[in-house]
Protein backbone atom coordinates (compact mmCIF):
# COMPACT_ATOMS: atom_id res chain seq x y z
CA UNK A 1 0.00 0.00 0.00
CA UNK A 2 1.26 3.50 -0.77
CA UNK A 3 2.56 5.64 2.03
CA UNK A 4 1.19 9.13 2.46
CA UNK A 5 2.39 11.95 4.66
CA UNK A 6 -0.07 14.01 6.67
CA UNK A 7 1.41 17.24 8.02
CA UNK A 8 -0.48 18.54 11.06
CA UNK A 9 -0.10 22.06 12.39
CA UNK A 10 1.35 24.43 13.37
CA UNK A 11 -1.87 26.44 13.68
CA UNK A 12 -4.86 25.14 15.59
CA UNK A 13 -7.88 26.71 17.18
CA UNK A 14 -8.48 25.07 20.51
CA UNK A 15 -6.28 24.48 23.50
CA UNK A 16 -2.70 24.17 22.69
CA UNK A 17 0.39 25.74 21.33
CA UNK A 18 1.71 25.70 17.78
CA UNK A 19 3.55 22.55 16.85
CA UNK A 20 4.03 20.51 13.71
CA UNK A 21 3.76 16.77 13.17
CA UNK A 22 4.28 14.75 10.03
CA UNK A 23 2.14 11.67 10.26
CA UNK A 24 3.02 8.96 7.77
CA UNK A 25 0.08 6.71 6.94
CA UNK A 26 -0.58 3.57 4.97
CA UNK A 27 -4.21 3.75 4.01
CA UNK A 28 -5.99 4.42 7.29
CA UNK A 29 -3.19 3.30 9.62
CA UNK A 30 -0.42 5.45 11.04
CA UNK A 31 3.01 3.92 10.54
CA UNK A 32 5.31 6.67 11.75
CA UNK A 33 5.31 10.15 13.26
CA UNK A 34 7.89 12.90 12.94
CA UNK A 35 7.40 15.76 15.39
CA UNK A 36 8.92 19.09 14.50
CA UNK A 37 9.13 21.22 17.61
CA UNK A 38 10.32 24.76 18.20
CA UNK A 39 7.47 27.09 17.22
CA UNK A 40 7.27 28.33 20.79
CA UNK A 41 10.99 28.62 21.30
CA UNK A 42 11.47 31.90 23.15
CA UNK A 43 14.94 31.52 24.66
CA UNK A 44 13.96 31.38 28.32
CA UNK A 45 17.06 29.51 29.57
CA UNK A 46 19.35 32.18 28.14
CA UNK A 47 17.12 34.99 29.38
CA UNK A 48 17.28 33.56 32.92
CA UNK A 49 21.04 34.22 32.97
CA UNK A 50 20.36 37.93 32.55
CA UNK A 51 17.64 38.15 35.18
CA UNK A 52 17.87 38.12 38.95
CA UNK A 53 16.30 35.26 40.90
CA UNK A 54 13.36 37.50 41.77
CA UNK A 55 12.74 38.42 38.13
CA UNK A 56 13.49 34.88 37.00
CA UNK A 57 10.76 33.50 39.24
CA UNK A 58 8.19 35.30 37.13
CA UNK A 59 9.78 34.22 33.88
CA UNK A 60 9.94 30.47 34.67
CA UNK A 61 6.28 30.59 35.62
CA UNK A 62 5.56 31.46 32.03
CA UNK A 63 7.37 28.48 30.54
CA UNK A 64 3.93 26.92 30.72
CA UNK A 65 0.86 28.65 32.05
CA UNK A 66 -0.89 25.42 33.03
CA UNK A 67 1.91 24.08 35.26
CA UNK A 68 3.15 27.50 36.30
CA UNK A 69 3.49 26.71 40.00
CA UNK A 70 5.37 23.49 39.27
CA UNK A 71 7.96 25.43 37.26
CA UNK A 72 8.36 28.21 39.80
CA UNK A 73 8.53 25.82 42.72
CA UNK A 74 11.16 23.62 41.05
CA UNK A 75 13.25 26.66 40.14
CA UNK A 76 13.12 27.88 43.74
CA UNK A 77 13.86 24.41 45.11
CA UNK A 78 16.93 24.20 42.87
CA UNK A 79 18.14 27.64 43.97
CA UNK A 80 17.50 26.81 47.64
CA UNK A 81 19.38 23.55 47.37
CA UNK A 82 22.30 25.17 45.55
CA UNK A 83 22.59 27.93 48.12
CA UNK A 84 21.62 25.96 51.22
CA UNK A 85 18.63 28.18 51.95
CA UNK A 86 16.18 26.89 54.58
CA UNK A 87 12.46 26.75 53.88
CA UNK A 88 10.07 26.91 56.80
CA UNK A 89 7.71 24.05 57.62
CA UNK A 90 4.58 26.06 56.94
CA UNK A 91 5.83 27.27 53.56
CA UNK A 92 6.41 23.65 52.53
CA UNK A 93 2.80 22.83 53.38
CA UNK A 94 1.48 25.79 51.40
CA UNK A 95 3.63 24.86 48.41
CA UNK A 96 2.23 21.33 48.52
CA UNK A 97 -1.36 22.59 48.69
CA UNK A 98 -0.91 24.92 45.71
CA UNK A 99 0.89 22.19 43.75
CA UNK A 100 -1.96 19.75 44.30
CA UNK A 101 -4.69 22.29 43.55
CA UNK A 102 -2.86 22.99 40.33
CA UNK A 103 -2.79 19.27 39.56
CA UNK A 104 -6.56 19.08 40.03
CA UNK A 105 -7.06 22.07 37.72
CA UNK A 106 -4.79 20.62 35.06
CA UNK A 107 -6.24 17.09 35.18
CA UNK A 108 -9.81 18.40 34.97
CA UNK A 109 -8.82 20.66 32.09
CA UNK A 110 -7.32 17.64 30.33
CA UNK A 111 -10.36 15.44 31.00
CA UNK A 112 -12.58 18.10 29.42
CA UNK A 113 -10.29 18.45 26.42
CA UNK A 114 -10.21 14.65 26.02
CA UNK A 115 -14.02 14.67 26.07
CA UNK A 116 -13.96 17.17 23.24
CA UNK A 117 -11.54 15.05 21.22
CA UNK A 118 -13.75 11.97 21.37
CA UNK A 119 -16.86 13.98 20.56
CA UNK A 120 -18.28 13.88 24.11
CA UNK A 121 -18.97 17.60 24.46
CA UNK A 122 -21.28 17.28 27.45
CA UNK A 123 -18.34 15.98 29.47
CA UNK A 124 -16.26 18.92 28.23
CA UNK A 125 -18.81 21.49 29.42
CA UNK A 126 -19.44 19.70 32.75
CA UNK A 127 -15.77 19.38 33.62
CA UNK A 128 -14.94 22.96 32.71
CA UNK A 129 -17.81 24.18 34.83
CA UNK A 130 -16.52 22.24 37.85
CA UNK A 131 -12.98 23.35 37.15
CA UNK A 132 -14.04 26.92 37.95
CA UNK A 133 -14.27 25.85 41.62
CA UNK A 134 -10.52 25.09 41.68
CA UNK A 135 -9.80 28.34 39.87
CA UNK A 136 -11.74 30.21 42.56
CA UNK A 137 -9.75 28.48 45.31
CA UNK A 138 -6.46 29.28 43.62
CA UNK A 139 -7.57 32.86 43.18
CA UNK A 140 -8.49 33.07 46.86
CA UNK A 141 -5.05 31.75 47.86
CA UNK A 142 -2.81 33.58 45.41
CA UNK A 143 -4.85 36.46 43.97
CA UNK A 144 -4.67 35.22 40.38
CA UNK A 145 -6.50 32.51 38.50
CA UNK A 146 -3.49 31.37 36.50
CA UNK A 147 0.22 32.13 37.14
CA UNK A 148 0.09 32.27 40.94
CA UNK A 149 3.53 33.73 41.75
CA UNK A 150 3.42 32.04 45.15
CA UNK A 151 7.09 31.13 45.64
CA UNK A 152 10.03 33.24 46.67
CA UNK A 153 13.48 32.19 47.80
CA UNK A 154 13.06 30.52 51.16
CA UNK A 155 9.28 30.55 51.39
CA UNK A 156 5.96 31.55 49.91
CA UNK A 157 4.33 34.92 49.38
CA UNK A 158 0.92 34.39 50.94
CA UNK A 159 -0.43 32.60 53.97
CA UNK A 160 -3.48 30.34 54.22
CA UNK A 161 -5.65 31.57 57.10
CA UNK A 162 -8.03 29.22 59.01
CA UNK A 163 -11.03 30.87 57.28
CA UNK A 164 -9.46 30.28 53.90
CA UNK A 165 -8.71 26.68 54.90
CA UNK A 166 -12.42 26.16 55.63
CA UNK A 167 -13.28 27.59 52.24
CA UNK A 168 -10.82 25.23 50.58
CA UNK A 169 -12.33 22.26 52.47
CA UNK A 170 -15.80 23.22 51.26
CA UNK A 171 -14.57 23.50 47.67
CA UNK A 172 -12.86 20.12 47.98
CA UNK A 173 -16.08 18.46 49.16
CA UNK A 174 -17.83 19.60 46.01
CA UNK A 175 -14.88 18.58 43.83
CA UNK A 176 -14.68 15.14 45.44
CA UNK A 177 -18.34 14.49 44.76
CA UNK A 178 -17.97 15.55 41.14
CA UNK A 179 -14.70 13.68 40.59
CA UNK A 180 -16.26 10.48 41.96
CA UNK A 181 -19.03 10.98 39.43
CA UNK A 182 -16.45 11.37 36.63
CA UNK A 183 -14.67 8.26 37.87
CA UNK A 184 -17.90 6.29 37.62
CA UNK A 185 -18.55 7.83 34.23
CA UNK A 186 -15.09 6.99 32.89
CA UNK A 187 -15.22 3.40 34.12
CA UNK A 188 -18.77 2.68 32.95
CA UNK A 189 -19.65 4.96 30.05
CA UNK A 190 -19.41 3.03 26.80
CA UNK A 191 -18.60 6.15 24.70
CA UNK A 192 -15.30 6.55 26.54
CA UNK A 193 -14.52 2.83 26.48
CA UNK A 194 -15.11 2.44 22.78
CA UNK A 195 -13.12 5.49 21.77
CA UNK A 196 -10.13 4.98 24.05
CA UNK A 197 -9.60 1.26 24.66
CA UNK A 198 -6.66 -0.32 22.81
CA UNK A 199 -5.85 3.00 21.19
CA UNK A 200 -2.39 4.49 21.49
CA UNK A 201 -0.80 1.48 23.13
CA UNK A 202 2.55 2.05 24.86
CA UNK A 203 4.05 -1.08 26.40
CA UNK A 204 5.96 -0.52 29.64
CA UNK A 205 9.34 -1.72 28.31
CA UNK A 206 9.30 0.70 25.37
CA UNK A 207 7.92 3.46 27.55
CA UNK A 208 10.75 3.17 30.06
CA UNK A 209 13.31 2.87 27.27
CA UNK A 210 12.07 6.07 25.65
CA UNK A 211 11.95 7.89 28.99
CA UNK A 212 8.20 8.49 29.25
CA UNK A 213 7.10 10.13 32.51
CA UNK A 214 3.99 10.99 34.48
CA UNK A 215 0.51 9.61 33.82
CA UNK A 216 1.69 8.42 30.38
CA UNK A 217 4.03 5.82 31.91
CA UNK A 218 1.85 5.15 34.98
CA UNK A 219 -0.97 4.10 32.66
CA UNK A 220 1.40 1.40 31.41
CA UNK A 221 1.69 -0.01 34.91
CA UNK A 222 5.11 1.41 35.79
CA UNK A 223 5.30 2.70 39.35
CA UNK A 224 7.15 5.92 38.66
CA UNK A 225 6.14 9.04 40.52
CA UNK A 226 8.66 11.54 41.91
CA UNK A 227 6.28 12.17 44.82
CA UNK A 228 6.88 8.56 45.96
CA UNK A 229 10.31 7.72 44.52
CA UNK A 230 12.15 10.90 45.49
CA UNK A 231 9.75 12.85 47.72
CA UNK A 232 9.99 16.62 47.73
CA UNK A 233 7.96 19.14 49.75
CA UNK A 234 5.63 17.24 52.12
CA UNK A 235 4.94 14.20 49.96
CA UNK A 236 7.04 11.85 52.13
CA UNK A 237 4.62 12.34 55.03
CA UNK A 238 1.36 12.80 53.15
CA UNK A 239 -0.97 9.85 52.90
CA UNK A 240 -1.75 9.00 49.30
CA UNK A 241 -1.53 6.15 46.86
CA UNK A 242 0.53 5.85 43.73
CA UNK A 243 -1.98 5.35 40.94
CA UNK A 244 -1.15 2.99 38.12
CA UNK A 245 -3.27 1.23 35.53
CA UNK A 246 -2.17 -1.70 33.44
CA UNK A 247 -4.14 -1.37 30.20
CA UNK A 248 -1.26 0.60 28.58
CA UNK A 249 -3.71 2.50 26.33
CA UNK A 250 -5.49 5.84 26.18
CA UNK A 251 -8.23 4.55 28.46
CA UNK A 252 -5.62 3.90 31.12
CA UNK A 253 -4.37 7.46 30.81
CA UNK A 254 -7.89 8.80 31.31
CA UNK A 255 -8.45 6.64 34.40
CA UNK A 256 -5.04 7.44 35.93
CA UNK A 257 -5.71 11.17 35.69
CA UNK A 258 -9.17 10.91 37.22
CA UNK A 259 -7.95 8.72 40.08
CA UNK A 260 -4.99 11.05 40.68
CA UNK A 261 -7.40 13.94 41.07
CA UNK A 262 -9.06 12.06 43.95
CA UNK A 263 -5.64 11.40 45.53
CA UNK A 264 -4.78 15.10 45.17
CA UNK A 265 -7.92 16.01 47.11
CA UNK A 266 -6.77 13.59 49.84
CA UNK A 267 -3.32 15.21 49.96
CA UNK A 268 -4.74 18.73 50.28
CA UNK A 269 -7.05 17.64 53.12
CA UNK A 270 -4.11 16.04 54.91
CA UNK A 271 -2.02 19.20 54.44
CA UNK A 272 -4.78 21.45 55.78
CA UNK A 273 -5.17 19.22 58.86
CA UNK A 274 -1.45 18.97 59.63
CA UNK A 275 -0.33 22.49 58.69
CA UNK A 276 1.29 24.28 61.68
CA UNK A 277 -0.97 27.07 62.95
CA UNK A 278 1.90 29.45 63.62
CA UNK A 279 5.20 30.04 61.93
CA UNK A 280 6.83 32.20 59.30
CA UNK A 281 6.02 31.62 55.69
CA UNK A 282 9.01 33.55 54.38
CA UNK A 283 12.43 34.65 55.66
CA UNK A 284 12.51 37.96 57.53
CA UNK A 285 14.83 39.56 55.01
CA UNK A 286 14.27 39.07 51.30
CA UNK A 287 16.99 36.81 49.91
CA UNK A 288 18.53 38.22 46.75
CA UNK A 289 21.81 36.36 46.36
CA UNK A 290 22.34 32.63 46.24
CA UNK A 291 25.72 31.28 47.44
CA UNK A 292 27.86 29.38 44.97
CA UNK A 293 26.74 25.84 44.23
CA UNK A 294 24.84 23.64 41.87
CA UNK A 295 21.67 21.62 42.22
CA UNK A 296 19.41 19.29 40.36
CA UNK A 297 15.81 19.37 41.44
CA UNK A 298 12.93 17.10 40.50
CA UNK A 299 9.24 17.77 40.82
CA UNK A 300 6.20 15.72 39.90
CA UNK A 301 4.32 18.19 37.72
CA UNK A 302 0.90 17.30 36.33
CA UNK A 303 2.34 15.88 33.14
CA UNK A 304 5.26 14.05 34.73
CA UNK A 305 8.72 14.60 36.07
CA UNK A 306 9.97 18.15 35.74
CA UNK A 307 13.72 18.67 36.10
CA UNK A 308 15.69 21.84 36.76
CA UNK A 309 19.45 22.07 36.84
CA UNK A 310 20.81 25.27 38.34
CA UNK A 311 24.34 26.53 38.86
CA UNK A 312 24.81 29.64 40.94
CA UNK A 313 27.96 31.74 41.25
CA UNK A 314 27.25 33.78 44.35
CA UNK A 315 25.63 36.73 42.56
CA UNK A 316 21.95 37.62 42.30
CA UNK A 317 21.69 35.94 38.90
CA UNK A 318 21.96 32.22 38.12
CA UNK A 319 25.01 31.18 36.09
CA UNK A 320 23.15 28.49 34.17
CA UNK A 321 19.65 27.02 34.25
CA UNK A 322 18.58 23.93 32.35
CA UNK A 323 14.95 22.91 32.17
CA UNK A 324 13.60 19.56 31.07
CA UNK A 325 9.84 19.55 30.82
CA UNK A 326 7.67 16.41 30.96
CA UNK A 327 6.30 16.89 27.44
CA UNK A 328 9.86 16.91 26.12
CA UNK A 329 10.35 13.52 27.77
CA UNK A 330 7.06 12.17 26.45
CA UNK A 331 7.44 13.31 22.86
CA UNK A 332 9.68 10.35 21.98
CA UNK A 333 7.08 7.84 23.09
CA UNK A 334 4.42 9.76 21.16
CA UNK A 335 5.68 8.13 17.96
CA UNK A 336 5.20 4.70 19.55
CA UNK A 337 1.76 5.67 20.83
CA UNK A 338 0.52 6.83 17.44
CA UNK A 339 1.90 3.85 15.48
CA UNK A 340 -0.92 1.55 14.50
CA UNK A 341 -3.68 4.09 15.23
CA UNK A 342 -6.32 5.01 12.70
CA UNK A 343 -6.25 8.61 11.44
CA UNK A 344 -9.55 9.14 13.23
CA UNK A 345 -7.93 8.25 16.55
CA UNK A 346 -4.94 10.55 16.13
CA UNK A 347 -6.50 13.53 17.98
CA UNK A 348 -7.26 11.59 21.17
CA UNK A 349 -4.04 9.55 21.05
CA UNK A 350 -2.06 12.76 20.59
CA UNK A 351 -3.93 14.38 23.44
CA UNK A 352 -3.46 11.34 25.69
CA UNK A 353 0.07 12.36 26.73
CA UNK A 354 -1.38 15.77 27.68
CA UNK A 355 1.05 17.62 25.45
CA UNK A 356 1.86 21.21 26.18
CA UNK A 357 1.29 21.70 22.47
CA UNK A 358 -0.97 20.08 20.00
CA UNK A 359 -2.22 21.07 16.64
CA UNK A 360 -5.08 19.22 15.15
CA UNK A 361 -6.32 22.41 13.59
CA UNK A 362 -5.34 22.29 10.01
CA UNK A 363 -4.42 19.04 8.41
CA UNK A 364 -3.04 18.88 4.89
CA UNK A 365 -3.33 15.50 3.23
CA UNK A 366 -0.72 14.77 0.61
CA UNK A 367 -1.07 11.82 -1.70
CA UNK A 368 2.52 11.39 -2.86
CA UNK A 369 1.78 9.12 -5.79
CA UNK A 370 -0.84 11.41 -7.29
CA UNK A 371 0.82 14.60 -6.08
CA UNK A 372 -2.53 15.79 -4.75
CA UNK A 373 -2.88 18.01 -1.68
CA UNK A 374 -5.98 18.85 0.28
CA UNK A 375 -6.67 20.49 3.61
CA UNK A 376 -8.86 19.57 6.54
CA UNK A 377 -9.61 21.75 9.51
CA UNK A 378 -9.77 20.24 12.95
CA UNK A 379 -13.57 20.36 12.80
CA UNK A 380 -13.57 18.41 9.58
CA UNK A 381 -11.15 15.90 11.04
CA UNK A 382 -13.39 15.49 14.05
CA UNK A 383 -16.44 15.08 11.82
CA UNK A 384 -14.57 12.48 9.79
CA UNK A 385 -13.61 10.75 13.00
CA UNK A 386 -17.26 10.45 14.04
CA UNK A 387 -18.40 9.28 10.63
CA UNK A 388 -15.63 6.71 10.51
CA UNK A 389 -16.59 5.35 13.89
CA UNK A 390 -20.24 5.10 12.95
CA UNK A 391 -19.37 3.35 9.74
CA UNK A 392 -17.15 0.87 11.51
CA UNK A 393 -19.81 0.33 14.23
CA UNK A 394 -17.38 1.21 16.99
CA UNK A 395 -19.84 3.29 19.00
Amino acid sequence: MSRNIIPIGPQHPALHEPEHFQIIVEGETVVDVKPRIGYVHRGIEKALENRTYIQGAFLVERVCGICSNAHQCTFMMAAEEAGGIEVSEKAQFIRTIVAELERIHSHLLWLGAAGLEIGFETLFMYVWRDREVVMDLLEAISGNRVNYAMNILGGVRRDISPELADKIRKGLDYLEERTNYYKKLCLEESTIHKRTEDIGVLDPVTGVKLGAVGPTIRASGVKFDVRKNDPHLKYDEADFELITWDTCDTFGRVVVRVLETIESIKIIRWCLDHMPKKGDIMPEKLIRRVPEGEAYSRFEAQRGELVYYLKSNGTDKPYRVKIRTPTMANILSLAEILKGCYIADVPIALASIDPCFSCEDRVTFVDIEKGKTWTWTREELRKYSREFNEREKRW
Binding site: P10, P13, Y39, V40, L59, V63, R129
Partner: protein
Protein backbone atom coordinates in the same frame (compact mmCIF):
# COMPACT_ATOMS: atom_id res chain seq x y z
CA UNK B 1 -26.99 52.84 3.89
CA UNK B 2 -28.81 50.22 1.86
CA UNK B 3 -30.84 47.42 3.31
CA UNK B 4 -28.29 44.79 2.40
CA UNK B 5 -25.35 46.55 4.01
CA UNK B 6 -27.49 47.20 7.11
CA UNK B 7 -28.31 43.50 7.22
CA UNK B 8 -24.65 42.52 6.86
CA UNK B 9 -23.69 44.89 9.65
CA UNK B 10 -26.43 43.50 11.90
CA UNK B 11 -25.29 39.97 11.22
CA UNK B 12 -21.66 40.88 11.86
CA UNK B 13 -22.42 42.35 15.26
CA UNK B 14 -24.74 39.51 16.24
CA UNK B 15 -22.37 36.71 15.35
CA UNK B 16 -18.65 37.51 15.35
CA UNK B 17 -16.86 34.21 14.78
CA UNK B 18 -13.42 33.99 16.29
CA UNK B 19 -10.23 32.14 15.56
CA UNK B 20 -8.14 31.57 18.64
CA UNK B 21 -4.45 31.55 17.93
CA UNK B 22 -1.43 31.00 20.13
CA UNK B 23 1.62 32.59 18.55
CA UNK B 24 4.14 31.33 21.10
CA UNK B 25 2.67 32.12 24.50
CA UNK B 26 2.60 30.07 27.67
CA UNK B 27 -0.96 28.61 27.50
CA UNK B 28 -2.24 30.70 30.41
CA UNK B 29 -4.13 33.14 28.19
CA UNK B 30 -5.35 30.24 26.08
CA UNK B 31 -7.04 28.51 28.97
CA UNK B 32 -8.59 31.81 30.04
CA UNK B 33 -9.89 32.47 26.51
CA UNK B 34 -11.37 28.99 26.55
CA UNK B 35 -12.81 29.53 30.02
CA UNK B 36 -14.54 32.62 28.61
CA UNK B 37 -16.40 30.34 26.20
CA UNK B 38 -17.33 27.86 28.94
CA UNK B 39 -20.59 27.65 30.93
CA UNK B 40 -19.75 30.16 33.68
CA UNK B 41 -18.83 33.13 31.49
CA UNK B 42 -20.41 31.89 28.26
CA UNK B 43 -19.70 34.50 25.58
CA UNK B 44 -21.68 32.35 23.19
CA UNK B 45 -24.66 34.39 24.29
CA UNK B 46 -23.17 37.25 22.22
CA UNK B 47 -23.14 34.90 19.23
CA UNK B 48 -19.41 34.29 19.51
CA UNK B 49 -18.33 30.87 18.28
CA UNK B 50 -14.84 29.44 18.16
CA UNK B 51 -13.98 28.47 14.60
CA UNK B 52 -11.41 25.98 13.38
CA UNK B 53 -10.39 27.65 10.16
CA UNK B 54 -9.15 31.22 9.55
CA UNK B 55 -11.31 31.37 6.43
CA UNK B 56 -14.46 31.24 8.56
CA UNK B 57 -13.37 33.78 11.14
CA UNK B 58 -14.11 37.48 11.58
CA UNK B 59 -11.96 38.10 14.62
CA UNK B 60 -8.45 36.80 15.32
CA UNK B 61 -7.92 36.34 19.04
CA UNK B 62 -4.15 36.20 19.51
CA UNK B 63 -2.28 35.22 22.65
CA UNK B 64 1.43 35.20 23.37
CA UNK B 65 4.41 37.05 21.93
CA UNK B 66 5.36 36.43 18.31
CA UNK B 67 8.21 33.96 18.03
CA UNK B 68 10.59 34.27 15.12
CA UNK B 69 9.54 30.86 13.80
CA UNK B 70 5.86 31.64 14.00
CA UNK B 71 5.93 35.10 12.37
CA UNK B 72 5.83 34.11 8.65
CA UNK B 73 3.11 31.51 9.32
CA UNK B 74 1.16 33.96 11.39
CA UNK B 75 1.18 36.53 8.57
CA UNK B 76 -0.04 33.85 6.17
CA UNK B 77 -2.83 33.01 8.56
CA UNK B 78 -3.82 36.66 8.90
CA UNK B 79 -4.05 36.96 5.12
CA UNK B 80 -6.44 33.99 5.02
CA UNK B 81 -9.01 35.75 7.20
CA UNK B 82 -11.64 37.41 4.97
CA UNK B 83 -12.17 41.19 5.11
CA UNK B 84 -13.18 43.06 7.20
CA UNK B 85 -10.98 41.40 9.81
CA UNK B 86 -10.36 42.38 13.40
CA UNK B 87 -7.53 41.46 15.71
CA UNK B 88 -7.71 41.18 19.46
CA UNK B 89 -4.43 40.89 21.39
CA UNK B 90 -5.09 39.06 24.66
CA UNK B 91 -2.48 39.27 27.41
CA UNK B 92 0.59 41.35 28.13
CA UNK B 93 2.80 39.31 25.81
CA UNK B 94 0.46 39.81 22.89
CA UNK B 95 0.29 43.55 23.62
CA UNK B 96 3.99 44.30 24.07
CA UNK B 97 6.05 41.14 24.45
CA UNK B 98 5.58 41.34 28.23
CA UNK B 99 7.84 39.26 30.43
CA UNK B 100 9.62 37.77 27.43
CA UNK B 101 10.99 41.12 26.25
CA UNK B 102 14.68 40.63 25.54
CA UNK B 103 14.48 36.88 24.86
CA UNK B 104 16.30 36.07 21.62
CA UNK B 105 13.51 33.90 20.23
CA UNK B 106 10.75 36.50 20.13
CA UNK B 107 9.92 39.47 17.95
CA UNK B 108 7.71 41.38 20.39
CA UNK B 109 3.97 41.96 20.55
CA UNK B 110 1.41 40.94 17.95
CA UNK B 111 1.50 44.47 16.48
CA UNK B 112 5.04 43.91 15.19
CA UNK B 113 3.50 41.57 12.62
CA UNK B 114 -0.09 42.70 12.01
CA UNK B 115 -2.34 45.67 12.93
CA UNK B 116 -4.24 45.21 16.20
CA UNK B 117 -7.72 46.59 17.02
CA UNK B 118 -8.19 45.77 20.70
CA UNK B 119 -5.56 45.25 23.40
CA UNK B 120 -6.53 43.30 26.52
CA UNK B 121 -3.68 43.56 29.06
CA UNK B 122 -3.20 41.23 32.02
CA UNK B 123 -1.08 38.19 32.72
CA UNK B 124 -3.32 36.42 32.03
CA UNK B 125 -6.36 38.73 31.77
CA UNK B 126 -9.33 37.44 33.70
CA UNK B 127 -12.29 36.19 31.67
CA UNK B 128 -14.18 39.34 32.76
CA UNK B 129 -11.48 41.47 31.14
CA UNK B 130 -11.66 39.45 27.95
CA UNK B 131 -15.46 39.88 27.87
CA UNK B 132 -14.94 43.63 28.33
CA UNK B 133 -12.56 43.59 25.36
CA UNK B 134 -15.14 41.72 23.31
CA UNK B 135 -17.85 44.24 24.22
CA UNK B 136 -15.55 47.10 23.17
CA UNK B 137 -14.83 45.36 19.90
CA UNK B 138 -18.56 44.95 19.26
CA UNK B 139 -19.01 48.69 19.90
CA UNK B 140 -16.27 49.32 17.35
CA UNK B 141 -18.13 47.17 14.82
CA UNK B 142 -21.24 49.25 15.48
CA UNK B 143 -19.47 52.41 14.31
CA UNK B 144 -17.90 50.80 11.30
Amino acid sequence: MGLLSRLIKWARIKSPWILHLNTGGCNACDIEVLATLMPRFDVERFGIILMGSPRHADVLVCTGPITKQMKPRFRKLYEQVPDPKFVMAVGNCACTGGVFKGCYGIEGGIDTAIPVDIYVPGCPPKPEAIIDGVAKLLAKLQNL
